[in-house]
């Protein structure tokens, strides 16, 4: 055992956060204010997600952290270590085995189930923020369902770029009521927001928690003549050959060679273990 209280936060704080989570689940997409604590990491590194995870974890849970789909980047490694130290929970890199998954900017490729919780780190929870800087006004707009402005943003995209160019954090309408920022996930992941698992969103600096309960209708905003499209790089993964996963583009040299790999490292690893091979799989091994 460590000298910390289980999962770092004290019990009163966790109760306060759980109340906010329950309220968020009861009003899908509504941003519930909560008294965000100082965490031993800088704002922008997932302080909101960490607090939600801390309030959600039980000693029996298996915890997984992903950062842009990867299990082995700085952010993911340090948060995983943080909970190994302070909560002593089991951790895993396998999506299927995890019960609580904290994520930054991706939804795992593997379909999540009813006994899993997905916790998002959110930098700016207010989808209207860059259109309307006043918090008093945005709250009013949410309360009165005045969402015309959100479409002004999409209109501007089309008039400038010929298509809805918002490629991440594409705004969604939850359960036919609140417009919500799904955190900066690529819009490829937007259709996956309707899932079996509970989704919790924590914004530490902005002190907001919101949630999408299982099986909730989540619609990506669009125009009738410019419908929403979940886009990805038009390639198969060069390591595992997957054609249905979101890809990262890596520049290999200065001769213009590039490779596309799954951004979800666990998905890619499990496919290769099952014998799937992509274009560069052999070279990579060598």
């Amino acid at each position: 055992m460590s000298d910390y209280n289980f999962a770092y936060l004290d019990e009163q704080t966790k109760r306060m956060i759980r109340r906010a989570i329950l309220k968020g689940l009861a009003v899908p997409g509504y941003q519930v204010p909560f008294a965000s604590r100082e965490m031993p990491m800088p704002y922008g590194w997932g302080t909101g997600g960490v607090q939600v995870s801390a309030a959600t974890l039980t000693p029996e849970d298996t915890f997984k952290v992903i950062d842009q789909g990867a299990d082995d980047t700085t952010n993911a490694v340090s948060i995983r270590k943080f909970f190994e130290n302070t909560a002593g929970v089991a951790t895993t890199e396998e999506t299927e085995k995890a019960t609580v998954i904290q994520t930054r900017h991706r939804i795992p490729e593997a379909e999540l189930t009813e006994d899993q919780i997905l916790v998002y780190q959110v930098p700016i929870p207010e989808p209207l923020r860059f259109l309307e800087p006043r918090e008093t006004e945005t709250r009013k707009m949410h309360a009165l369902e005045e969402y015309g402005l959100m479409h002004v943003k999409l209109y501007e995209d089309i008039s400038q770029h010929g298509a809805i160019s918002t490629s991440y954090a594409h705004p969604v309408r939850v359960s036919g009521r609140y417009v919500m920022d799904p955190s900066p996930i690529p819009k490829f992941d937007n259709p996956k927001l309707e899932m079996d698992a509970i989704q919790l969103f924590g914004a530490g600096r902005e002190q907001r928690i919101y949630a999408v309960p299982p099986h909730t209708k989540v619609v990506s905003l669009d125009f009738e003549d410019y419908p929403f499209e979940a886009t990805k790089a038009d390639h198969p993964c060069d390591l595992c050959g997957a054609e249905d996963s979101y890809l990262d583009e890596l520049i290999m040299d200065d001769a213009g060679n590039r490779m596309f790999v799954c951004s979800d490292t666990d998905y890619c690893r499990s496919r290769r273990a099952a014998g799937h091979e992509g274009r560069l799989a052999k070279e990579d091994a060598a």
Partner: protein, 256 residues
Amino acid sequence: MTPLLSVQNIRKTYGTRIGCTDVSFDLYPGEVMGIVGESGSGKSTLLNCLAGHLEPDEGRVVFDTRTDGPVDTVTMSKPERRMLGRTDWAFVHQHARDGLRMTVSAGGNIGERLMAVGDRHYGDIRDKAIDWLGRVEIEANRVDDRPTAFSGGMQQRLQIARNLVTGPRLVFMDEPTGGLDVSVQARLLDLLRGLVREMGLSAIIVTHDLAVVRLLADRLMVMKDGHVVESGLTDQVLDDPQHAYTQLLVSSVLQV
């Protein structure tokens, strides 16, 4: 005929100071009403009370809605009032920057009200935006420019287009020509007069410029220290002022 807007004993005070008091009038469909007076006479306070931006302390502002007939907008629920504010009502600010979104293109500015009432077809919205740019004499190729790239007169015309695109029935204007040079003012007034007549709009225009009301307004109300001191047909009030203040106001205009 039912008045489009019936104002009854509006009173608004700021602490012990009077903003405006005992204001009553009826505005009929298609009618343009001018409110003149010096700075601090309560014109803008009155306009903001009527448009729902300020809550009056006393009185009723009864608007003849399309669906439910005459309704008191002071006591109606906030969502309903805001809905009126973006459908049947329009508000033209003195400074175009107050009424425009400066970081959004001209087309987006015009389209905002359309999208706010549920228009979700990009092509239609854009066609309407271009059509309205034409009506306010802005070239169609400026549709993707931001208002920051427009001159003051163009910004004001863009603000008018943005407000009129949903076909409102009542337009509130707060010094629409303030801060523009005279030739631009003349064009703007000409444009406004055309639009008001063509669309059959009712309008309430607050100004201190008598030339504006002479051109646009059917009826005139003169305010001083929060009170209405004189009202009547525009030509009548301006040509034969009865109240001492109105006489002063009319005689202050420089005859060129």
